[in-house]
């Protein structure tokens, strides 16, 4: 068992050698070696997040998931630790770290509780991301500052009952009246919809311009004309609310438009690029938790006079799990590093999310296969966020 673990760990020095041979001297702010040997700051951050997840999230994860219970106290503590506004500049009340730090933090938190992870991801990438980039000082005062400390959360309202992937077909309308925007329409699948006190909303201002006619708005919640639907009864990640938001003749002050008119689609797409890194990291956390569980089980469960980890079929399963996880992790960290270096990272972030989601699914299914018995699965269920 121990030799298997050390062979998994030997991946890192092998990769380091490969990269240094291929890339030689690289002069940008962070080199590929950063993907294999984290800086002290990142290691310390990882420790804080891991300890927090282990002590505060893991013990309650199963129960809050079952009961649809929003972890208000834990979110507040995460805010105090600086986890909800990781790349927001210090002068705005954030932590002032980079996206690699965010990816690492997301993975460690999600390893303890995937719901806490998604709440954290929506805050960092989807809500604070566009506001940090496009809001004017007055808007930051109202919609950014009060949201960095964990007391309040925000949400991102792009998807509609009729369009998810086809974001350019937003049917929520924002009519340009003389002294206000008039909002009408429905948004669906909004994470944090129930608890959010701020909404980054995407609505059509000029239907004829198609996706170039979508604009972004900042909506405070509660707001007259804005109603929240029931929490969706999801299969998992249930401690985080997913609801519809319905706008009926909602009057929004003119100054609440975020960025330029017509820029909405562009803002949404660039926000989602960054969001993919966060969600990929959440998947990594889930995958890692599955791997931890599988390794532990394989080393403990006895069959044919020895722990099942001695059996080749189990070893191959674990090896495949580990490789899928590590590959996805490197893709995720690469996307984060590219973003931090100011380079285009759209494709890499999408690759990361795809790889990480597939890894999480593979790992969980492999874990199930490993246990091969519903009874066993029930016994280990509390240690998974399922």
């Amino acid at each position: 068992m121990a030799s298997f673990i050390s062979s998994v760990k030997s991946f890192r020095p092998v990769l380091l050698k490969l990269f240094s041979l291929k890339f030689g001297n690289v002069h940008h702010t962070r080199t590929i070696s950063a993907l294999v040997q984290l800086s002290e700051t990142h290691e310390m951050l990882r420790k804080t997040c891991r300890d927090f997840a282990q002590n505060e999230l893991k013990p309650i994860a199963a129960q809050i998931d079952r009961d649809h219970q929003y972890p208000k106290e834990q979110v507040r503590k995460m805010g105090e630790l600086g986890l909800l506004a990781i790349d927001v500049p210090e002068e705005d009340g954030g932590t002032g770290l980079d996206y690699l730090a965010y990816a690492i933090a997301m993975e460690e938190i999600s390893r303890g509780c995937a719901s806490a992870g998604v709440i954290m991801s929506v805050m960092n990438s989807l809500y604070l991301g566009p506001i940090k980039k496009h809001a004017n000082p007055a808007q930051k005062e109202q919609f950014l500052r009060p949201f960095v400390g964990g007391e309040r959360v925000g949400c991102f309202a792009l998807s509609e009952p009729g369009n998810g992937s086809d974001a350019g077909a937003a049917s929520t309308m924002a009519k340009d009246n003389p002294d206000h925007w008039l909002l009408n329409g429905s948004k669906a699948w909004i994470t944090n919809g129930y608890e959010a006190e701020g909404v980054v909303l995407f609505a059509t201002t000029d239907k004829a311009l198609k996706h170039k006619g979508i604009s972004a708005f900042l909506v405070p919640k509660p707001m007259a004309g804005l109603s929240v639907g029931k929490k969706e009864d999801k299969l998992g990640i249930r401690a985080s609310s997913t609801t519809t938001l319905t706008f009926e003749d909602c009057k929004l002050p003119k100054e609440n438009i975020l960025g330029e008119r017509g820029m909405g689609f562009k803002i949404a797409m660039e926000t989602l690029d960054a969001g993919r890194i966060g969600i990929a990291s959440q998947a990594l956390g889930i995958a890692q938790a599955s791997l931890d569980c599988a390794v532990d089980y394989a080393g403990t469960r006895q069959a044919f006079g020895a722990p099942i980890a001695k059996l080749q079929a189990i070893q191959m399963t674990l090896a495949n799990m580990a490789v899928a996880l590590e590959s996805a992790r490197l893709l995720t960290w690469r996307a984060a590093s590219l973003k931090d270096a100011g380079k285009k990272f759209t494709k890499e972030a999408a690759m990361a999310k795809l790889a990480a989601s597939k890894a999480a699914t593979l790992l969980f299914c492999s874990l199930h296969l490993l246990c091969h018995s519903l009874i066993e699965l029930a016994l280990i269920r509390p240690s998974l966020n399922v």
Binding site: T41, M44, T48, G82, G96, L97
Partner: protein, 262 residues
């Protein structure tokens, strides 16, 4: 405590040791000269973490004015100093001891170093973990106090300040003992003294700007010549299976068989 005039400096020196992480499964090296440390996760000794937390709380209560974290060893020790700084220490001192000499560094050397530093830094209090989780020596606090001729309060589970003294509750074999200790003093922490805080991300960032001074044992006039030689390190014997016994008679006869009783 509103007194006019300059505030009295109350500097706290905290000893921080870099040890193998408590969760790691320690393995003995094949040549039996020690345990495997290469590539193994290390962290701040948990009892030292409690010491740092206590010092930070004293500062928050406006009793301590400055916290100085100290670590002896090779360059990697700076990791634990950064952790201490991220928890709230003001500055760090790294006493440089190269790898070969570090292998034979003993509590007696460390206590001499801490004693000299305390004098140099004009410390009002030294606080260290009761023992390190790698060697379990439980000697540094006691020896440091002896070298300085300062009072010592070890296995502290509660620390209060009353005027110029400290009221310390100690965990002893018989229960709890409360003693009054004059300052300056040396304290060592026990598990139940406090629960260390998480290093928040903003504090981790702030720690990067805090100073870590480097010194050598020779600078302090301390001789760290080896005087303990490790002959062999081996795993404890594998625990043998027990025998289930039906009743007291069987127990007595088995003990008699084994010659443990007449």
């Amino acid at each position: 405590m509103g007194v006019l005039g300059p505030k009295m400096a109350f500097r706290v020196l905290v000893g921080c040791k870099r040890v193998i992480d408590y969760a790691v499964k320690v393995r003995v090296k094949p040549d039996k000269t020690g345990v495997v440390t290469d590539g193994v996760k290390h962290s701040l000794n948990p009892f030292d973490e409690i010491a740092i937390e206590e010092a930070v709380r004293l500062k928050e209560k406006k009793i301590a004015t400055e916290i100085v974290a100290v670590s002896c060893g090779p360059p990697k020790c700076q990791e634990v100093l950064r952790t201490a700084l991220a928890m709230g220490a003001d500055r760090g001192i790294h006493i440089e001891v190269p790898d070969e000499e570090y292998a034979s560094l003993q509590p007696i050397h460390v206590s001499k170093i801490l004693a000299k530093l305390a004098a140099q830094e004009e410390a009002s209090m030294i606080i260290v973990g009761k023992q390190a989780i790698d060697d379990d020596c439980n000697q540094t606090a006691q020896m440091t106090a002896a070298f300085l001729d300062w009072p010592q309060a070890t296995f502290a589970s509660k620390i209060e300040k009353t005027n110029g003294d400290l009221l310390v509750t100690r965990e002893v074999d018989g229960g709890l003992e409360t003693i009054k200790v004059k300052l300056p003093a040396v304290l060592s922490t026990d598990l139940r003294l406090n629960e260390p805080r998480y290093a928040t991300l903003p504090n981790i960032m702030k720690a990067k700007k805090k100073k870590i001074d480097k010194k050598k044992p020779a600078d302090l006039g301390v001789d760290i010549t080896q005087h303990v030689e490790v002959l062999k390190v081996e795993e404890p014997p594998v625990r043998q299976a027990g025998v289930i016994i039906e009743n007291a008679e069987q127990l007595v006869s088995k003990l008699r068989e084994a010659g443990h009783i007449q």
